[in-house]
Structures are given as C-alpha cells and as structure tokens.
Amino acid sequence: MNKSNVAFTTRRKITAIAVSFVAGAFGLTVVTTSTAQASSVTTIKLYNDKGAWDKYFTAVGNLAKKDIGVGVQPVGYTNEDTYDAIIDASFRTHSKPNVFTWHTGAQLQEIVSQKDVVSTSSIWREGIAKGDLTAGVEKYYTVGGRQYCVPLYVSYYVMYYNKNIFTKYHLSPPSTWSGLLQIAKTLKSHGVTPFYATDVLFSFLWFEQLLVGSNPTLYNNLEQGKASYLSPGVISVMKEWKTLIADGYFTNPAVTTAPQTLLKTGAVAMEPWGTWFTGNMKLVGAPPSSYGMFVIPPENTHLAKLPIIFETGPMCVPTGAPNMSADMSFLKWWTTPAPESYWASVTSDTGADPKAAAPSASIEAIDKYASSPKVQLINRYYEATPAPILNTALSEFGAFMVNPKGYMSDLKTIQAAAAQYWSSHSAS
C-alpha cells in the first residue's frame, strides 16, 4: 500500500464517519418527526400564476394544515408567460412543484400527451358521487377518457352593469339579446357608452360572446380544429360585431384605464367578465349596491341548451411530484366544501364545489343558473384555443376593432395559423 493509498483510505474513513454522523443525525430527525407525527406538518409548494393571491393560498394552507396536516407554501408568479415557461421547463428537471395551477383546453391536452401530469380520475369519481364536483366541469378536465387535475376555481361569464346608470334611464337587466341591444341603443342615445371592449389580451371577449350566443356548436368545432374561421357562421359574427362597432356601442379599445374603474365611474354601462370580476370591483371600492350582473342572453333563441361561457383554472400534480401522497391528498381535500367555501368568500367568486357557500346572493343566482340541466358550459376562448392560434387571433381581433372593414383579412390570417397548427396536431 503506497502513501497515496493510505491517504485515500484515511479520507474514506473520515468520510464514512462523517456520513454516519450525518445519517445518525438525520435518523434522529426522522425519529423526532415520527414521534411527533400527530403535530408534524408536511408543507407542499403550490406554484401558481396568481401572485396577487398568495395570502389566500397561505390562508387555505392553514386550513389544510388543520384538516389533513398538509401546509401550503405558495410560489406565485404574476406574469403568465414566464410562469408557463417555468412550469414547462420544470417537467424536464428533478425540481418539480408539488402542485401547480394550469389551464384547461389545448394546454392541458399538451401536458397530458407528454405524460407530465398525474391522473385524478379517482378524485373525480368520488367527487361527483358525493356531489362535490360536477359532470359539466368534468368534461373540461378529461383527456383520452381520464381526468387530470382538479378545479381551483370556476367562473361564469356574465354582464356586469352599473346600477346607477340603469336606474337613471329606467332600465332593467334584459332577458333576450334584442332586449340587450335595445338597452344599448337607449344608452347610446343618452351619450352613455354601452359596452366595454379592449384590443389588448381580452380582445376575444366579443368574438366568443357573439359566436357562442349564435352557434355554440360551431364555436366548439372551431376550438377542436373541426371548423374553419372562414365558415359562414364565423363571417356572420364578424359582420355583426362590425355593425355594433359602427353603432358606437363600444368603448375605444385603446383605453387603458382599468375596466373596473370605467364601470365604477360610469364611463361605460356594461362589461362582460367572469364572476371573478366582483373581486376587481371590490378592489376599487365599488359598493356592491352600485353594480349588478346578469346572464348574457344568447342571440339564437332556438338553442336546445342555453350556453354560458365559463373559465376554470386547474390545479395539478406533476408526474414524479416530490411528495406524491401529500400532493394528491391536498388535491382531494381541495374538492371538498370547506376549502371551496373559503375560496369563494375571499375571491368573491363562485366555488367549483356546488355545495360551497356562495359569497353573495347574485353569485348564488348565477351559480344556480349554470348548474341547471338546461344550460351548457362553454370553455372560454382563451383556454379553448391552442396557443399559436390564440396568439394570432388576439392580435387580429385587436386589429379588427381598429379597422373593422378588414375582417376578412383578419379571419384569413387566423385561419392560416389554425391550418398550420392543426396540420401537425390531430383535431380532437
């Protein structure tokens, strides 16, 4: 044995002793944890793109600690693009989130096809059996016959309106599309801008509303690559939108003032938003008595089921999650009434669990309407449209609002993007 071998052996001994010491200490820690099992808490990291809601996640985590012994450490992002890129990248690493928020539609299908997310079929089966989850929402969490993720929230798209303006001009929420247009006409004649519109991000709002209200089947086919943006039904919707713009029914889409401020101050009378918008109105201090909401009546009066656009944000567990058992227990626990009621109260929104207590009478009414068997849920355009098509469509809708005459050119551009996407992705 030469000198270097002796040194090596000595180093190995020292290392072995050190490792034993550390392992012993670790074992002691494990024992301590086990001994204190009743009071020990597993903390999971919940990655989300709702950075402003960190305090809500923390509060829900406190509730989960008490109920199932799983605490929550929120890791919130405020930029969705950054967040999506980080989650996408995490799938290829060993550093994965315990739980993460995501999107339904094409983006959920993409991560399922890559086997990046764990199935939650058993949670859905049990949740539906107990009445905590609904079959209407389940459809949007199902890919290839299996369910993935659970709903963090469910919001329904309704028309928010300024009650003071409606009272001033003796108006009441309409029950038909023609009634809605009559209100718009009345408001316009009094110099009040009826509807809110924007050319940034939410430029799809009126396209989806007009298409869903006139032909929800075409809308669904469009989102699944089974219909063209050059279909007569889509062209007709763009023409109608163009007419409404020409009538002066919309705010200038370039206005950057927050929509809640516009509604509160009466700069606009009505805005189509998800029920989460109640939280935005609270943020600007609008008293609940100053605004209301009503279901947007569909233009087509012959529909078998009344469509209502909804938005739901999934909460998922990635394949190879750091603590699968705790992560899945948290998801399961989330679908029960207690956390859903709490979540509905802090966000002033509807809960994904039908048993969850509604934060207000108006939200309860919307919730009840959406749960009716006469109503069909339609996934919001933003989630339903694959990202490359969505990116083009948002730009083109924005361009259309500035230059409505160019609607055919806009539709052709969107269709080109759709054709390119669906050529490499099978229509679902």
């Binding site: 693009d81 950054t82 999506d84 890129a85 996408d88 990248a89 799938f91 993409e110 991560i111 890559q114 990046d116 050319d199 940034v200 991000l201 200038n252 889409p253 370039a254 206005v255 950057t256 003032t257 990202a387 490359p388 969505l390 990116n391 083009t392 730009s395 083109e396 924005g398 361009a399 609002m401 500035v402 806009d410 551009t413 490499s424």
Partner: protein
C-alpha cells in the same frame, strides 16, 4: 503633457510614425519589430516565471471562461439549435430543418416587425441623440446648468415598463394629452394615438426619447468637458462666431463621444421591447410590433419556441452586423477615424 501623451499614442499595427519621428525615434519596418516596441511592459511579468506557467494562466482565466461559456456561448448555441426545430416548450425538440427561417420570409408579422424596427433605429437614434446633444450644448457652461439638465435625467432612473405605463395613460383616448388638447381647444383630443400606424410607433419613439435624452445629454456634457478651452479660445481669437465654433470646433471634438452615444442608441433601438410590449403588445394586430416583441410573442405567448429562436438569431445577426458596420466605419483600434 498632451505632446507627451501623443508621443505614445498607439494605432492598430503599431505606434504612430510621425510622433515617434518627432521624438527622435525611427519607425521599425517589420510588424514583429513594431510589436517589440510595446513589450517592455510584458517583460516585467516574464521575470516571474511561476505566474507565466501555462497551467497557472489557465487556472486564473478558467473561472471566467467557464462562466462566459456556460452563460453566454452555450445558451446562444442552444438557441441556434432550437431555431432549427419545431420545439413548443414541452417534450423534446424535433429537427425541422430551415422551416423556421423560411417562415420568416412569409410571415406578415415579420414585415411589420422589420419595418418598425427600422423606424426605431432611425427615429430612436436621431431624436434622443439630437435632443441630448442640443440640451448639453445649451446648458453646458452656463450658471446652474446642472439644474436645467436634472429634470431630463430623472426619467432615466425609471424602468422602461414604468415609462410605458405613464405614457400609456398620457396617450390613451381621453388621457392627459387629450385633456390638454381639449382644454386648449385644439383638435385631436379624442385621438387614439396608439391605435394606428405610424402614429403608434412615433408616439412610442417620443416616449422612449423622453427617457433617453437625459443620459445622452449627460454623456455629451462629459464630452464637452474634454474639449480643450485653449482650442475654443484660439477659434475666438481667429474671429469665429458662436455657430462656427460649434460647427467647426466643438462638434468635431465631440465625435468620440457621439460615436459611443449613437452606437449605444442603435443597439438599444434594435432590441426595443419593454416600451412597446407594455404600451401596445405590438398591436393592434402586428402594426407596432418589433423584432424583439415578435420574438417574445412567438416564444412565450404562442409557445413556438423554434420560430421564436429563429427570430432571436435574426435579431442577433442584424444587431451584430449593424454594430460591426457602424464601428468599422467610425472606430479604429486605439482611436477614432478622423
């Protein structure tokens, strides 16, 4: 002092001949001999052989090399690789040949992006540099000149996104500008400045100039401080008036600083992103998009990482070429072309 410094002024390829001659030295003919002239400094290092061992040298520079390679070269090479794939951020990239580069020539967004980037390079350089220069000349050497310049410098402390938000409020229909025009009884109070091209791009260039003018002014003031007073006095004695002094003396002597300011402005204009993204997101449609916003939008919004990487490579090549051509025109190693 200046003569002493000039005597050792270096130029690419060796030491300037005339100065050597004036110092009573002859100019070596061969490059090797010329290089030897500037070696005395190295000789002192050679007297410490332990430092000049190749392994020791490598050890000293290795950390920096590793950092630069890992954080700059490898990501760039990976981006180049991704640009030849149809990667969408999930799974593994699939080789797609030059499809993304072919698409660059057929994409209507790219037409707008290249047009707007060109506008940014011209207007985004001329406006803030001209304003900065004008401000520096007007305020330099006068009493309390620093206080006059200060307000123009303050916006530079803000982020581009912050500037964009403020200008968004000013320029939106019914915004601050509209209110001012309305109060003064002028037309245009309801104009949507950011909705139509070229108004949108011009408005954003002005917003950008508002932020960049101050720092350009500061750099020009530093340049003005280096202008020898004796030269200006000599010009005055020769009967030069204010404008002649400015045109014939000050501006030529400011040329080194102007080259720096313009060079920085060109690169900044080519990679314009924050102001455009926050104010219009490149819209409506693609009317105000730039190469940088198109790259971001394709990569992170449309999840077309491959195509986004191709735009990034194009932007890198354009920036590199523009910088190289500009610097080659204006600068020589060790000095400025005169």
């Amino acid at each position: 002092m200046q003569a002493e410094a000039d005597r050792f002024e270096l130029k690419a390829g060796g030491v300037r001949g005339p100065h050597l001659k004036s110092a009573g030295l002859s100019v070596p003919r061969s490059a090797h001999a010329r290089r030897r002239l500037i070696r005395p400094f190295r000789a002192s290092y050679r007297s410490k052989p332990q430092v000049t061992k190749p392994t020791a040298t490598a050890g000293f520079i290795a950390p920096a090399v590793v950092v630069v390679v890992a954080l700059m070269y490898l990501p760039f090479l990976y981006s180049v690789y991704i640009s030849f794939t149809n990667y969408d951020g999930l799974g593994s990239p699939r080789w797609d040949g030059i499809a993304n580069y072919v698409q660059l020539f057929h994409d209507p967004e790219m037409v707008d992006a290249i047009r707007n980037t060109a506008v940014w390079v011209v207007a985004g350089v001329v406006v803030p540099v001209a304003l900065g220069l004008g401000l520096a000349i007007l305020t330099y050497g006068i009493r309390h000149g620093g206080w006059y310049r200060l307000p123009f410098l303050l916006p530079y402390a803000m982020s581009g996104a912050g500037v964009a938000v403020i200008w968004g409020f000013i320029l939106q229909p019914g915004g601050a500008l509209g209110d001012v025009l309305k109060t003064l009884g002028l037309p245009g109070s309801g104009t949507a400045w950011l909705s139509y091209w070229p108004d949108s791009t011009i408005a954003m260039v002005i917003a950008s100039a508002w932020q960049a003018t101050g720092v350009n002014c500061l750099l020009f003031v530093v340049g003005l401080q280096a202008v020898p007073v004796a030269v200006l006095e000599a010009a005055e004695i020769d009967g030069a008036r204010a404008f002649t002094k400015l045109w014939r003396v000050t501006l030529p002597l400011l040329r080194p600083m102007t080259i720096v300011v313009v060079g920085l402005a060109i690169v900044a204009a080519l990679k314009t992103f924050d102001i455009v993204w926050v104010m219009t997101q490149g819209g409506p449609g693609y009317t105000s998009t730039t190469l940088a916003t198109a790259m971001y939008s394709q990569t992170f919004v449309a999840d077309s990482y491959g195509y986004g990487a191709a735009i990034a490579v194009l932007l890198t090549v354009v920036t590199g070429l523009a910088s190289a051509v500009y610097l080659k025109q204006q600068v020589q190693v060790g000095g400025v072309k005169r």
